[in-house]
Amino acid sequence: MNVITCVRLAKRFGRTVAVNDLDLEVGAGQVYGFLGPNGAGKTTTIRMLLGLITPSAGQIRLLDRPMPDPAAVRLTGSMIEEPAFYPWLTGKQNLQVSAWTGGGHAEGEIIRVLDATGLSDVADRKVRAYSQGMRQRLGLAAAMLGRPPLLIIDEPTNGLDPPGIRDIRGLLGELAADGTTVFMSSHLLAEVEQICSRVAVIVKGRLVEEGPPARLGTARRRVRVRVRPADAESASHLLNRWPLRIETPAAAEPLPHPHSTEFVVEHDSGRDVNGVLATGGVIAESVTIEMPRLEDRFMEIVTEDAHVVAAGG
């Protein structure tokens, strides 16, 4: 079952098209990453999902209910951008206000989310005295109130230090393991890669890629080869003569190193690269396979799309 379905979703602000013909399907139990550069339309999409903004065109189904439906939104835990609170209230009181606004929750539920986000010790402190990281955790705590089946969160690790990021990653993992669907946008692609089972990339309001993080884009694995400086010229000659190198002549680049020279070749197999060198009598000192990071693939998609837009425009 899909918990989020968008069909040809669009939003225009005057002449500006913020979201354009967006089709999206998020299945139950997934941790779904929603990526895109600044101004791509991520937050506008999230606001439309939560009923804060009315779409100009298209349909949304949230938790299998056609939007707009306040009941579906109430069943969804959410945190949009930097969470905001009432600074004259304590963290616990802010959660109470949040719970009461949504129809009330037992006191135990507030204690549970405070524990889960590590805020129990500062729960009775006024929010104005909270650090940004604490506010971020409190935002997540508010979103988790009532164990919603769907969490929609915008930049959940904003302002967190590395231990905080690790904690939130663990927390989101636990939520997913409990069957909660998490739809999150983030700029921390390394985090997204570790947490998300699927990702969508949106550029200029259009969906340009969707799928598991490992299959995104066309960026290939890279082979890092290190040879003795004396063999550098031969190695360069061999690798540049290699058929695959002809297709991407700029991919092999020598990197300075005190005792060896390194080449980075875009190719799936280290064995192939090593074989080419061996046929020319060059013995590699090391051959390392590098998996492309989500960041590389994301940059490739975004850059490629920008080129397409530039060429088209």
């Binding site: 903004i53 306040p70 969804t76 959410s78 009432y86």
Partner: protein
């Protein structure tokens, strides 16, 4: 709805709101204290025309006796108005006029406009997406905060009024302490209707201004504009300020003012009390429709 109201009441108990409410109560106390001392000063030296200051003619003796009688009557009226039974007229009149309007502008600005300024509106609407309910809860909480201030003001004046009158050496009121209580309560009841209109204006202002200062300015500014319009002979009777004037029946004020409203309104033919109530209800309906329409717009903060 009750949970939503509980959340709104939890939020409205904030320094800005109770600080403003305290300031309004202090203002009422100050007005009462000033009025009592002005009445006492007038009693000690009534205003006598210069021509009679030195003359001892029979006509001047009559003028002087009349001046003494008038100041004594005014002092007695002030003393009576400061008693627990009557002083509700002051509290209700103040809250149903400019001080009440300013109080509501401050509450609406902080409690409602501030939801946009501090971006908490997003969380609020994600928790309760039925925007009509949110508007209703905001209006109710703003209105009840103002009614609470009215009650507090009345209670404080009921205790302090007689002490202030006594400290100013005003003649003792002839009627009992609680004389005029029924009339005071009726005026207070009418004031709650006016406060409901002011709260509706504040609620609508929040949906238009979408910020603390803008909400305050629109709330206060719209009613001040209505007061100005009320002074224009041709259209003044159609102004919400005229409806308030007619409903409250604000009359000329003595040493202790019972409102800050009637002095700004022209002395043309006035509306009846029922017409005032109908006008207030109509104005509130128009304001509610504006609020509903504006609140349906996208929330992009």
């Amino acid at each position: 709805m009750l949970w939503l109201l509980a959340a709104e009441f939890r939020k409205i108990v904030r320094p800005l709101v109770w600080g403003t409410a305290l300031a309004i109560v202090a203002f009422c106390l100050l007005i009462t204290w000033g009025a009592a001392h002005n009445a006492h000063a007038a009693l000690a030296s009534p205003r006598i025309p210069d021509v009679c200051a030195q003359a001892a003619t029979a006509q001047c003796r009559l003028v002087i006796a009349h001046a003494h009688a008038m100041t004594r009557a005014a002092a007695l009226a002030t003393s009576a108005l400061a008693q627990p039974g009557e002083v509700g007229q002051v509290a209700a009149g103040m809250l149903a006029s400019l001080p009440g309007l300013l109080l509501i502008a401050m509450i609406a600005g902080g409690h409602w406009g501030g939801e946009w300024g501090s971006r908490t509106i997003r969380q609020l609407l994600c928790r309760e997406g039925r925007r009509g309910r949110v508007l209703l809860a905001k209006w109710l909480s703003i209105w009840l905060a103002a009614v609470g201030t009215l009650v507090a003001c009345y209670l404080v004046l009921a205790v302090a009024g007689p002490l202030i009158a006594a400290s100013a050496h005003l003649p003792a009121a002839r009627a009992g302490l609680f004389a005029g209580l029924g009339s005071s309560l009726a005026t207070a009841g009418r004031a709650t209707i006016v406060l409901a209109l002011f709260a509706a204006i504040g609620t609508a202002a929040g949906t238009i201004g979408r910020g603390q200062l803008a909400t305050m300015a629109i709330t206060a500014g719209s009613m001040l504009l209505a007061l100005l319009v009320a002074g224009i002979a041709s259209v003044g009777r159609l102004s919400p300020a005229s409806f308030v004037q007619a409903w409250m029946g604000f009359g000329p004020v003595g040493y202790l003012p019972t409102n800050f409203w009637s002095r700004f309104i022209g002395s043309g033919p006035s509306l009846g009390q029922l017409a005032g109530l109908i006008g207030i209800a109509g104005s509130a309906a128009v304001v509610a429709a504006i609020a509903r329409w504006r609140f349906a717009a996208d929330v992009t903060t």
